[in-house]
Symmetry: none
Subunit: 308 residues, 5 copies
């Protein structure tokens, strides 16, 4: 166990040995094992966006086993998916990589202004599938946010009692926010704080823009001269907003972008003290060899010498 790994586990002193052990499984797996950095492969887009939008760019990815193999071969810290996708490979790949069962999911065939995902898996499903953690999405800003917060609290309580870690996707959206506001710095920082307050062990947020959404927040940012540029400063602010860096905060990439931009973002995440990246579409929507190469480059950046 590296010093950094031990340091991170020490953030979670109130968690039981089971949760610590499963956090350690993710910290100490793959190419970034022990560095305190994370690259996680999530594949819930089949459910969230539909199969063709997700997999048509790289048809082998229609097969759930493709993603297990990709995550293993790339040396990711963990692989996250909804129940059906996860079960389709969990036995075959048992023991190969830490798994995160995404317990709620949302589809776009009925799109709502104030969405709330359906609960599509249980803590018991995660245990019998050999997962290290459960994943849960909340939409702060949605009129339905309270429902999600309360579901999360109950699931977190049950998951932790059974030794599972809790990973929260905290993605602001809904009628409380403008479209631009969904990635505004004040909003993303606030979303990270809410996830931490709800007991998240690992928090996933989107990379924040320099926009400030809420008037009252804007005043505070300006009065206190919170730095908005460059991106690494915003990453720092979000990490600070999650209990002063004492929660694992990971940034998601969103839609497929140019490699240069993606790598710049990774450098900014690292420079800002972010814990890592969750890379879905940018990895599985290209041919496998290219994906492995890109993920390798990303991990090189995270593994490289740095202030931390």
């Amino acid at each position: 166990m590296t010093k950094r790994a031990r340091e991170i586990l020490d953030f979670y002193r109130s968690e039981n040995a089971g949760v610590l052990s499963n956090l350690a499984r993710m910290i100490n797996h793959g190419r970034l094992a022990g560095t305190g950095h994370f690259v996680i492969l999530p594949v819930d887009q089949g459910f969230e966006h539909g199969p063709a939008r997700s997999f048509a760019p790289n048809p082998p990815a229609y097969d759930p086993r493709y993603h297990f193999a990709l995550a293993c071969d790339a040396g990711c810290n963990a692989y996250a998916a909804p129940l059906g996708f996860l079960e389709a490979g969990a036995a075959e790949f048992a023991g190969e990589i830490p798994l995160i069962l995404k317990l709620n999911n949302h589809d776009l065939l009925y799109d709502e202004k104030d969405p709330a995902p359906a609960v599509t898996g249980s803590v018991k499903d995660a245990l019998r599938s050999g997962c290290a953690a459960v994943g849960f999405t909340i939409y702060p800003g949605s009129a339905a946010s309270k429902v999600m917060y309360e579901q999360l609290r109950e699931i977190a309580e049950e998951a932790k009692a059974h030794g599972l870690a809790v990973v929260v996707w905290s993605y602001p959206r809904g009628s409380g926010l403008s479209k631009e506001g969904e990635t505004a710095l004040d909003v993303v920082a606030y979303a990270a704080q809410i996830a931490a307050q709800l007991g998240a062990n690992v928090i996933k947020v989107k990379l924040p823009s320099a926009h400030l959404e809420q008037a009252e927040a804007k005043k505070a940012y300006e009065a206190n001269k919170v730095t908005l540029e460059p991106l690494s400063a915003r990453v720092s602010h979000v990490v600070q907003s999650a209990f002063d860096g004492r929660r694992i905060v990971i940034f998601s990439g969103g839609p497929k972008v140019s490699d240069d931009r993606l790598l710049d973002e990774v450098r900014a995440i690292k420079a800002g003290g972010g814990f890592g990246s969750i890379i879905g579409r940018n990895s599985f929507q290209r041919p496998r060899a290219e994906a492995l190469k890109l993920l390798g480059t990303i991990m090189d950046i995270y593994a490289g010498a740095s202030a931390r």
Copy 2:
């Protein structure tokens, strides 16, 4: 056990021996036993459309026992019905054909824009009736879809724990979709994916048209040159969308059509790698002798030599 039967069972490695055994019962029953193709007789129309619309064209079909006998004599792989209809013959026909208890049903006396069926049977009902599987309908696209997804998840967990297979009717409808969109290729493929993600062992969808409903999906279909014609290509795409062909996907016929069109559709399903047909109204709304003849012809097509 044929090689293809074994191959199909291997898709379901995470299921317990009970679920595998009940899948095998359906795979290995009737005229298509062991071929990996399926013709299933479902009779829920009495509940879904009312008795006269369903049975007046062929009055002997008012008697629930008529359908058991038809499914047996035609050599179908399984027979599916709601609780009342199923119980009305289950003891008399015990051991004659694998049964699927449809656990939720919807009627048209109160029609909603965003419908959700009532839960009209339980896993325990299925077990005491000797069923091989439970059936459940979801309506992706309905504002009530989340309720159905969550009911399905709980029922699937209970059914599988008791060794029953799970068959999902995934029929898009509701205020999220246009009427044409209900059978649009992108929507049907998405519906198949959702059913698979929710743990369905067998997925029933409608035959897709070449229409594309959702703007974002349309872009992906065009950018990735997903083939829209002929029908067999669309069948292929739907099967691919259900975990790359690793879930049994069966296509439903819908309202009574001309025999020629129906047989052309069956040929397209087979050519596209679909697993089979669910033939309700097209079989029981004609005299028994004609129904047996038609079902025989359909099975001949599925049993014929082919690429698969």
Copy 3:
């Protein structure tokens, strides 16, 4: 046990011996014992319409014991009432007549467009009161129909597991239907089918008019030349719609009408193969002697020589 009684019991082969035994108690009780015909006295009007509307025309009927005695003296097959009314005589009349506890009831002090009755009794109440069956009302066509269907399913499962028969009042109403539609032939037949699908052993419906409510159904009735006249043909169609005559279907009289009309209806029910009548207001809203005379005449009709 008469041949016809045995024949009717054979419709229910999937039921346990307890349910069969309680069905047999109703079949073989009273003046119509063994004929396969039924006249049942239901008195839920005190709850459903209020006491004065129900009992002021014949004040002795305010006393719950009045109805037990009337049903016994008239030789009815069974007596049905809500919990309070039933408990008020169950001990005193124990063993005198098969009892049906109506488990849900609706009052008019708060009237809804889409009503759902309150559940006012339990299976356990029925058992400790010595009942042969539980009764349950559903309103197909109501926006709340799903709630009632799901309640019925659970109650039917529990009742049958404890050996009680299940009697369903299937009375279409609610915002899905026009007022005329509530007794339309297609709607009543559909309501009978739904009750049978939900596991009803005995089904109560209103006598159908020749009106056809739903456009799609109307097409089917016309295309298949379903006979709409006379009333006995409509009775036949409803009985056929309840599993081809393999469920006991009983017709209710509704508001007090002239004796001639009532007796004509009884003749039509018998001619059409209906199983009997449920006669409430037409019996207890007149002096006891007249009521006994009328019920006697009705039973004479049912007991008379006939095609069946």
Copy 4:
């Protein structure tokens, strides 16, 4: 479904369709499918007698999968084993042969005068393993018999509620009986009756000798001139003792004997109206080819033309 299969199912009219369906699976499987005769392979000797005594004569039999394959290839009606042995092949052989999970087992490392087996499996284990039935052993004559009877009653209730058939090994032993008495005709007939009274669908007993154990019984046998010879007459008496032939009674072979004696016994079972044989040690304690040949000969005898 043959006439005889239907006739046997009709013995069990009080069972639900699930139990009937699972009985039908055993009746209609293997080389004796539909004849109403049974040859079942039970392998619980590893637990009951220890591994070397059971498998050293034919070492491939140490592998649990050996027995699945033997039962399948020989065309047995079913295969029975304790949980560990059954789970070790249930997934691999799913759908190949009806399975019976033996729910209680006894070992000889602590041998008691009045033994009672340990409960080593559950109804839920049987369901998730895809079994058609549960098996349970009772020792009438043991001081602990009451415990076993009560366990059986509870297990039978739960098993049947979930659609599983109940197979009872009724093997008299314990301080209430002499060694010779364990197979005395009066005792074996009594044991068959007790199993039937406790709700057994299928009853396994040992072949009875002409000895009569109990003084009061002896008087009755003599007074009523019950025929004691030949063996087929004793078989008839035992079958009669199980509800006059209306329960499936199967005879077990016991320790390995000469083939001639075994085949004579099979002929006597058939001649006496016994339903079949349970052949354990006589099949798996010899090389596979010889076992297949012997089982083939036994099945030939049962399949041969006969009075029944």
Copy 5:
């Protein structure tokens, strides 16, 4: 994942992905990772024999954390202890080594002829402590064996449903056996079989002597020429007795012996196809440096080139 690791996991096809994943954690941890061999450190002697008998020879071992560190530093596959001892280090060493919570334990302050351990932990304790498996002791040969078998069955069902592996200490003792009989070859082989039948994933037994305890077994060993010498042949026989080598069987060392004898035993275990050793007193009752050296030598033997 090595070929041998995959091969071993394939023995457990009926287990869910969670159990497979936890078995893989033990297979793939420590110096013997991936070899299919195991050295496990168990420390339950404080409970079983008292603290001074256990730890006075090496006083640092009084501290529970001593044993975690020893198991980690030696590169063991897993560490096993009762609840108190395990909780005393589980958080501090979270993620360092797979843990096995011993769920029942026995002390010597009240010693019985027919002992049964007390259940001192739960499946939930194991989950919140981050364990990979639960451990359970049975004493075949004890008059109380049935109680232990039934406790084990229930615990195994619960543990596996939650994804935990099941490790069984099968140690014959009690009034059914002579002292010499406790390690007799026939008895140890029988004990291994019983553990496998009860669903054990990993089986711990004592090294067998060439003594044969039971008369009937002795006949079978002689008749079938089961080889009794050398020790490796006896190991082979025990491994064969646990489902023909398809269960992980590990041998325990018992009391402290000379290093030469211990290493010879390890060589015999390896030569006989045993899966490994459980080394308690022989490791922690000597100074830490010596213990690490000895465990290193043992692992060298298991890791060395061999037939397997």
